[in-house]
Amino acid sequence: MLQVRNIEKYYGNKNNVTKALDRVSFDVGAGEFLAIMGASGSGKTTLLNCISTIDTISAGKILLDGTSVADLSQAELAKFRRERLGFVFQDFNLLDTLTVEENIGLALALDHADPAAVQRQVRDVAQKLGITDILEKFPYQVSGGQKQRTACARAIVAGQSLLLADEPTGALDSKASKNLLEIMDAMNRDMGTTILMVTHDAYSASYAKRVLFLKDGRVFNELLRGDRGRPVFYHEILDVLAALGGDVSDVI
């Protein structure tokens, strides 16, 4: 589904260049749940931003279902984001002036979809994510966990094929985090949503089927969960993090 080929990303000016990504390559299959881990400054958010078209790449290629995102025009990019990509951020990025229901359905409504169909789709996804009872509320009236579930609902309501999550549990307490991760797991398992999640939290990453470790802008290691249970996978992740260089302190 997603192919990342030798991408590089440089920041700065001619006197001071920072290489944020250095020839990163990997594939994500349809229906996969992939976590990307790394310490602060390892390039994981930059990688996610490049894949999500928020940021541009300096070299390489990113193909989603065979389409190179770099070759799309502004209008095509907007359509691409609307129909194919869903986003979940650490700080939710919900619009305060809209209710939870409206936040979820905004992109569909502005795309001139049939209002009745929009409401149906919104209610459908809200039910799956357990937020039906807060649909009429505004973001400032609900908890962090509910906000993040709202963001998840918004990310998949239009049938987007890839959900990109940047530290989705970063602003949540442990209970809400667990709840959200279980929902994401269910979205992946039951709804076939492909998820690419950036996190520095080993516990969150243990919900994924595969974990890529980044260090200094490069893919340092890859860990597959296979048939192992989540607790075992969690400890393996911790081991890799320890080998990665003393980042255990970053872990819950």
Partner: protein, 647 residues
């Protein structure tokens, strides 16, 4: 569920108006100001008041062009400011798949809603404001005012056109920004660091010193009569403001860093860190605001000086309902008097002579020979007591007695004090006359062919016998105010007879003063109000945008054990410094300028409530009154939002 672009825009507009209430109020006031002044432009009632008022629409339209630019800058600045602060929200729109043109439309619609709402409210408020202006103008012409609320469609149309220009300019800039912005910059805008403008200590100190010198030189040059020098002075002042603010603002952290004892004294650390976080990057803005305040204060002072000048001159020229004088020893007033007999019914009148004394005792005493404002009397001017008594009666002044062997002095107030000290008798027609008193009511004493320039001796009739005639004059109390047409006809007749002449009517002098005051004061105050509101709003937007940061800071300080009273004190100090900084240079530049300007007119005009010091105080009071309203609103809002609840 049906969220449309327009619904979303409307909700955002409501939030925008609430979050930036002071800005919204200013935009409403801008619409009110534009509408009320446009009301004056299109008012036939005002236009019909006097010939002089014909220029008023043009003056107001010219001022409106500047005002539209000023408000255009405010709206563009505020729109851009809000746009940047809403980067995350705009980024989210783009992220969920809105095209940038949809975001532009969204932003356009919400600003259209805010602007439209402000325009509608402003026009309503402007209707009332127009009534206030109308009342002022009518009062200036001495006419009764009756409240009559109504809307002028052309004024509404012109106001809407100005508003469209203001918003189109601001939105064009915003559209450019949104189209060019990339999602990453929008989403992570609030994480970007701000940069300082000037970093090196030596460069900063040199620039600051140079700026101060430039500021002093510029202020002195501004007061020069030569226009080129004044323009150079204005340039120096502007350069000085930018130089000093750029160097000073970024120099504050360095100052405290070098003086740790001061930094850690009392609340200095808290206040200075709160301030420097803003000031270090606000040099250009502070300088711009300071420049605007300087222009405001100068506009207000200049407006008051002109008002004082016109009223002062009118007071002298309007003492008689009708006054005509023509130079020459021979009576040349026949044609004018024929005209008066034919056209202007009078209740009392006097045809009389102003005589030349045999000497110039008072002229020499006052040392007026070389005075640029003093007209051509080589000897002291003399009035017969009987003429003087009749003139007083015509002017409506109480009668005065002249004792035997005495003379009176009728002077303008500015020379009265000097003449009061002179107790020597005067010699006239072989008689010696002792000083019998000084009177200072207005009596046409400003020009050559008047009742003496600044002063006249009033002597017993027999003492004036045999004195040479300086010129002839006619004064009358008329049954009705002299119509303007009669005034102009008389000037034409006088001009045909005399080389130097004077025709004055109370009605014309007052109308002239009223229209000249309206022509100068209305546009200048229009500009001043717009400038103050704009600058104070921008300062306030900047200050209130920090509410979140302050709230977190004070919540933390409370946890660290800081008393709420101390917090309020720190907030007040920080607030006072923030608002005082851009107001200090305008006071330093404006005060000498206004005092100097108020001293330029001829003596005797700028007196009483129009004396230089009184004008300065009035200008400062008007300026600080408006400024204080904004400061108080901002302080109340900030205090309520950021200080923890009192326990």
């Amino acid at each position: 569920m049906s969220v449309t672009l327009s619904k979303l825009s409307l909700r955002n507009a409501k939030r925008q108006a609430k979050d930036y209430l002071i800005y919204f109020v200013t935009v409403v006031m801008a619409a009110a100001l534009l509408y009320s002044f446009n009301g004056l432009v299109f008012s036939q009632e005002i236009d019909a008041l006097s010939r002089g008022m014909a220029m008023l629409p043009m003056m107001i339209v010219l001022a409106s062009i500047v005002v539209v630019c000023v408000f255009g800058w405010l709206v563009a600045y505020a729109t851009r400011f809000m746009l940047l602060r809403r980067g995350r929200e705009l980024g989210t729109y783009l992220l969920i798949g809105l095209e940038s043109k949809q975001v532009v439309r969204l932003f356009f619609l919400e600003n259209l809603a805010v602007g439209g709402c402000a325009l509608a409210m402003g026009v309503g408020l402007g209707g009332l404001l127009y009534q206030a202006f109308r009342a002022m103008v009518l009062a200036m012409f001495g006419l009764p005012y009756r409240f009559a609320f109504g809307f002028s469609l052309p004024a509404v149309g012109l106001t809407a056109a100005y508003f469209a220009l203001i918003y189109l300019y601001a939105l064009r800039r915003s559209r450019k920004y949104i189209r060019r912005a990339n999602i990453r910059d929008l989403l992570y805008f609030d994480r970007q660091n701000e940069g300082t403008v000037i970093r090196t200590g030596k460069g900063r100190q040199a620039l600051f010193a140079l700026s101060i010198l430039l500021g002093i030189a510029g202020t002195v040059l501004l007061m020069m009569p030569d226009l080129t020098l004044a323009v150079i002075g204005a340039g120096c002042v502007i350069a000085a403001l930018f130089g000093s603010f750029l160097s000073f603002a970024s120099g504050v952290p360095a100052f405290f860093d070098k003086r740790p004892a001061r930094k850690y004294k009392g609340q200095n650390l808290l206040v200075f860190r709160s301030l420097t976080a803003k000031l270090a990057t606000m040099g250009v803005l502070m300088a711009t605001i300071s420049m605007i305040f300087t222009a405001t204060l100068i506009s207000e002072g200049t407006g008051l000086v002109f008002r004082g000048l016109f009223l002062g001159r009118a007071a002298e020229d309007s003492c008689f309902d009708l006054y005509i004088s023509i130079d020459g020893e021979q009576m040349g007033l026949e044609s004018c008097l024929d005209y008066v007999r034919e056209h202007i019914p009078t209740e009392r009148s006097l045809l009389y002579s102003i005589y030349r004394s045999e000497n110039a005792q008072l002229l020499e005493y006052l040392d007026l020979e070389d005075d640029a404002f003093h007209y051509d009397y080589a000897q002291d001017p003399v009035l017969r007591y009987s003429d003087y008594a009749a003139l007083r009666a015509i002017a409506g002044y109480p009668p005065v007695e002249l004792a035997l062997g005495q003379y009176l002095l009728h002077t303008q107030p500015h020379v009265a004090g000097r003449l009061r000290d002179r107790r020597d008798p005067i010699a006239l027609g072989g008689k010696t006359l002792a000083p019998g008193g000084i009177h200072t009511e207005p009596l046409m004493q400003s020009f050559g062919v008047s009742n003496g320039t600044w002063y006249a001796l009033v002597v017993p009739d027999e003492a004036a016998e045999g004195l040479a005639v300086h010129h002839w004059a006619y004064a009358a109390k008329t049954a009705q105010p002299v119509p303007e047409q009669d005034f102009y006809d008389l000037t034409v007749l006088a001009d045909q007879v005399g080389f130097e002449w004077q025709v004055a009517t109370k009605a014309h002098a007052e109308a002239e003063a009223a229209s000249q005051t309206a022509l100068c004061v209305f546009p200048l105050y229009y500009l001043a109000l717009s400038l103050t509101m704009t600058a104070a709003t921008i300062l306030t937007i900047q200050q209130l945008s920090e509410s979140d940061r302050y709230r977190k800071q004070f919540a933390l300080l409370q946890k660290l054990g800081m008393d709420r009273r101390e917090m309020a004190k720190a907030l007040r100090t920080q607030f006072a410094i923030y608002y005082a900084m851009p107001a200090i240079p305008p006071v330093l530049i404006g005060v000498p300028f206004i005092v100097h300007l108020a001293q330029l007119p001829e003596p005797g005009v700028m007196v009483g409530a129009n004396a230089p010091f009184a004008i300065l105080c009035s200008a400062l009071a008007v300026f600080f009154l408006i400024y204080t309203v904004y400061i108080a609103l901002a302080y109340i809002s900030l205090k309520r939002n950021v200080l923890p609840e009192a326990v």
